[in-house]
Amino acid sequence: YQRRVRVGMERYVEEFERKKNNNKDTPIAILAIQVLNDFVSKSDVGTLQQLLEQLKELSTQLKATAGTSNTSVVSGCDLFVRFITLSRGQNDPSSEDILECKGFDRVRKFLMDRGDTFLERLRKSRQKIAQLAYPFITDGVTVLTVNVSRVVLQLLVKAHQKSKKFKVLVTQSEEGPLMVKELNAQGIQATQILDASIGYVMERVSFVLVGAVGVVENGGLINKIGTYPVAVMARSLNKPFYVAVESFKFYRNYPLSQLDLPNDARYEDPEEKNHPEVDFTPPKYINKLFTDLGVLTPSAVSDELMKLYI
């Protein structure tokens, strides 16, 4: 039975790979959740418990193929499972209660509806962040950002569309040139700088704005390597450090040091352990987080996670 289940799941893992290659713009966690939603609609199990077990198994397999963005896949899938099994809609008291459904087909329909609502909410999360946070970009500011982040890109484009005049400095990191190209294409003045020169430019920067691979329980940040030194530098020169992140990236982990991050989050290949891909920025260096749940301080992240999980 287990083997048959796993073989059946290979189809979904392949679909996930295909989606990953075709949709570079969509966050990988959303693609994973789409695959899970698909699985729920096509699964042939008879009980909720079995379905949850299979969802968990599929999440683990998807995580294994996700490379270093797997923290967002893990957190996204966890949140998906929690959301669809909430017995009553949070803002809709008249919606059907999962406990009152008769027959598993009704339950499955309920789960699918919830799954669709969840996906719809997630898809809008980047827009919400852009809407909430663009007022922070005023005329004449210089924004420093690290590597490429679609959330930050959308935010900056929104600010540009609202006719704000600002400059962006992008650190080279791994994919900095890509960010510069995208920004220039939108008409935003963007310059690429070496990672080594952040000390040199920091005095001219108004604030730092980065995206995230994941946000941990104490409000700390997991992001592409090179973010931690920027945060420390910003703190030492009293420049605000902002993070733009969707709420499905809130990850249930509490690292106390760089080594506390799990191996498969840090390295592209956990067996080989070559250079780590991400680093951990403690919450004391972060001023605000722009999320689709609102503008939060790092201590509010724990509050939000407790609301969701406890």
């Binding site: 329980e217 104490n218 409000g219 509490y254 106390l256 040091s257 919450p283 004391k284 790092p298 201590s299 724990s302 509050d303 407790m306 406890i310």
Partner: protein, 275 residues
């Protein structure tokens, strides 16, 4: 809290046994609710049994089982090669370390102790009996040993609503030194110790223990201040608690979650303490 003469009899009795402590408040609230819930048509012996049962339940859920749950989470934080610094004696911390040893983790412990009670000696005895290599220092040499330490594990007497940790006097010092040397400070605290009290220093609320115990020195000689009661200008102050600011604490491990110190009011708000 209301003045002592208007509180129920059992409160007054407890206050006579031991000065009212912050962590006693939650238990007293719980018991008051239980007393109020007892139906008036029960006989006295049945009512007493019910109350005893509720007290036992409180202990079992909030102290015993909570301790086990915290141990499960905290043991994950102990890794091979660690040198863990602990302060004085705490049942919970000792339990965690003994459990980590039972799971064959390879670590050392640095026990920091301070006068007058020197309870760290008992810690050392229990740890070495279990085969854990221990070192023992007084709090004066805390800065000297801190370089070799990898983690600091502290117990709390209470966690206040503004995130401050109330612990045995000397905890704030350990927290400050660990922070300076960038060592993670792990505080283990059951949720029944969470209090709605707010204070930012150790003077606002504190307890005084027996001042004569400060006179005992290692060589049992008469100290120059032995007759301090005769001197009008001399007082011995034996403080019991001190407060550690939340910025110095990396993580608080409770039985419901691992939280940052600043999330203490979240737990209080959610009524996590089972009444």
């Amino acid at each position: 809290m209301p003045p002592i003469t208007t509180r129920p009899l059992f409160c007054r009795y407890l206050a006579q046994c031991r000065m009212m402590a912050v962590s006693m408040e939650n238990f007293i609230k719980h018991t008051k609710v239980q007393v109020a819930k007892i139906s008036p048509d029960l006989t006295e012996s049945v009512a007493k049994e019910e109350l005893q049962q509720s007290c036992d339940n409180f202990f079992r859920e909030n102290i015993y089982l909570a301790g086990k749950s915290i141990t499960e989470k905290a043991v994950e934080r102990v890794v091979d090669g660690d040198t863990i610094l602990i302060y004085k004696k705490s049942q919970l911390i000792l339990h965690i370390l003994l459990e980590a040893k039972a799971r064959n983790k390879n670590f050392r412990v640095m026990v920091v102790d301070s006068r007058p009670d020197l309870s760290g000696v008992q810690s050392c005895e229990r740890l070495t009996a279990a085969g854990i290599p221990c070192s023992y220092v007084y709090i004066n040499s805390c800065t000297y040993v801190m370089k070799k330490v990898t983690k600091v594990m502290l117990a709390a007497d209470a966690l206040l609503a503004n995130g401050y940790v109330l612990g045995p006097v000397g905890t704030a010092l350990i927290g400050l030194i660990s922070s300076t040397y960038n060592k993670p400070v792990i505080v283990c605290c059951e949720t029944y110790k969470f209090s709605e009290r707010v204070q930012t220093d150790s003077i606002l609320y504190n307890e005084l223990a027996d001042p004569d115990s400060m006179l005992k020195t290692l060589n049992e000689e008469d100290t120059p201040v032995s007759n301090w009661r005769d001197c009008p200008n001399t007082r011995l102050v034996n403080l019991v608690y001190d407060t550690t600011p939340p910025a110095l604490v990396s993580i608080v491990i409770t039985e419901i979650a691992e939280l940052p110190c600043t999330s203490a009011p979240v737990v209080l708000r959610r009524g996590a303490v089972k009444m």
